[in-house]
């Protein structure tokens, strides 16, 4: 009886509709001069992606011929001062898509630029992912003003205040 119940539960679980998780291809270039905060931020971002019910990390070789793949390219390097000592570095996130509305290199080498700080990498990763979701939503619905208007707001400014 218990075994039958277990079997039914397993079958129900297998047949239950699975939430569609958008595949995200993550690439990175973490410069040594960024100090430990670079790898820390990347690890935090991978954790957030793994935890997310909306996304799944994927690996690819080449640009997919069909469908859209979200692409996140992260560069962390030291722009000012001694980043290892200061525990902060500059992150450049290229938020793009591969596939129909393809890439692989956009008109700029970053979409969002922000500071990552030691001890705050989890929050930075969460904010970036939420911001990327807003950008991806806009990119996916660029042909419908109504759908685009329903997209979430971008959280990150394009560059840190006073940077340019």
């Amino acid at each position: 009886m218990t075994r039958s119940l277990g079997l039914v539960c397993a079958l129900l679980a297998a047949c239950a509709p699975q939430a569609h998780r958008q595949r995200v291809y993550l690439t990175d270039e973490i410069f040594d001069n960024a100090g430990p905060v670079g790898p820390e931020f990347l690890a935090a971002l991978k954790r957030e992606l793994a935890r997310s019910s909306a996304y799944e990390l994927t690996s690819i070789r080449g640009v997919p011929q069909q469908g859209i793949l979200f692409h996140l390219n992260i560069v962390v390097n030291c722009q000012f001062g001694d980043c290892e000592r200061d525990g902060k570095a500059m992150a450049f996130a290229d938020i793009g898509t591969l596939g129909r509305a393809a890439w692989p290199l956009p008109d700029r080498w970053y979409w969002k630029m922000f500071v990552v700080r030691h001890g705050h990498v989890d929050q930075a990763a969460r904010t970036l992912l939420a911001d990327a979701a807003a950008v991806w939503c806009g990119m996916s619905h660029y042909n419908s003003a109504t759908a685009m208007a329903a997209c979430p707001k971008e959280l990150l400014p394009p560059w840190p205040p006073g940077f340019l």
Partner: protein, 227 residues
């Protein structure tokens, strides 16, 4: 005898030049990755005649009476007689290219037509905009007293496509100077507004701001150079 050898050498050399043609290359490179395209060009034409540019390794070959250029970001192009042809067949929908980063420069100033960098405009997908003014160059700043974006660095933007253009329209199909969209920028609390046109620039693979009076130039590249 030696004349015959010279003649044969000349013929062989000429024959080699004939082999170095772009015939069929454009069709062959479609759908390929940048490194695959580069390898195909080298296989066909040999090592590049020149390395151009900085930052990127931009390679050039003299072929078919023109110059073939391989740019790892912008893609391959062929220039002959002042006419530039981009070799990858791309799809750049107007609506996709409209948002993102624009670069603003002052209008070219005599005597050397210098265009001073003034700042960046970012048009977010949520229809907000933010402008960052670069005050480093006082030469450029003097002429920007009435620059709307300097006066109003944040606000919202309303996009209205031209009558025969939609968000899906391929920019590849629009000749230079075609009106793509009209943008109305409305600054935050002051509600000041300014209208600009966005024009197609097929040759430069850009979108350009237009409107009078405009003390600056502003443009943004297409998003997709390879597909």
């Amino acid at each position: 005898m030696s004349r015959s050898i010279l003649l044969m050498a000349a013929l062989i050399a000429r024959g080699t030049a004939w082999c170095q043609s772009l015939d069929g290359l454009e069709a062959e490179i479609q759908g390929k990755q940048p490194n695959e395209v580069r390898e195909l060009i080298i296989r066909r034409l040999g090592p590049p005649a020149r390395i151009l540019g900085s930052g990127f390794r931009i390679e050039a070959w003299d072929v078919d009476g023109g110059v073939l250029i391989f740019h790892p970001a912008s893609g391959p192009s062929f220039e002959k007689g002042g006419k530039l042809v981009w070799l990858m067949h791309t799809v750049n929908p107007a609506g996709l290219c409209l948002y993102g980063h624009y670069e603003m420069t002052a209008r070219p100033e005599p005597p050397y037509s210098m265009k001073y960098y003034l700042g960046d405009l970012y048009m977010a997908w949520d229809s907000s905009y933010i402008f960052s003014f670069n005050p480093a160059r006082t030469e450029g700043r003097k002429s920007q007293a009435d620059n709307f974006f300097v006066l109003h660095p944040r606000g919202r933007v309303e996009v209205r496509y031209a009558s025969d253009v939609t968000a899906e329209t391929r920019l590849e199909d629009l000749p230079d100077g075609t009106l793509v969209a009209t943008l109305t920028f409305v600054a935050g609390p002051s509600r000041s507004a300014k209208v600009y046109q966005i024009l197609a620039d097929h040759t430069g693979r850009m979108l350009r701001f237009a409107g009078e009076p405009m003390p600056f130039e502003m443009n943004k590249g297409w998003v997709n150079c390879w597909r």
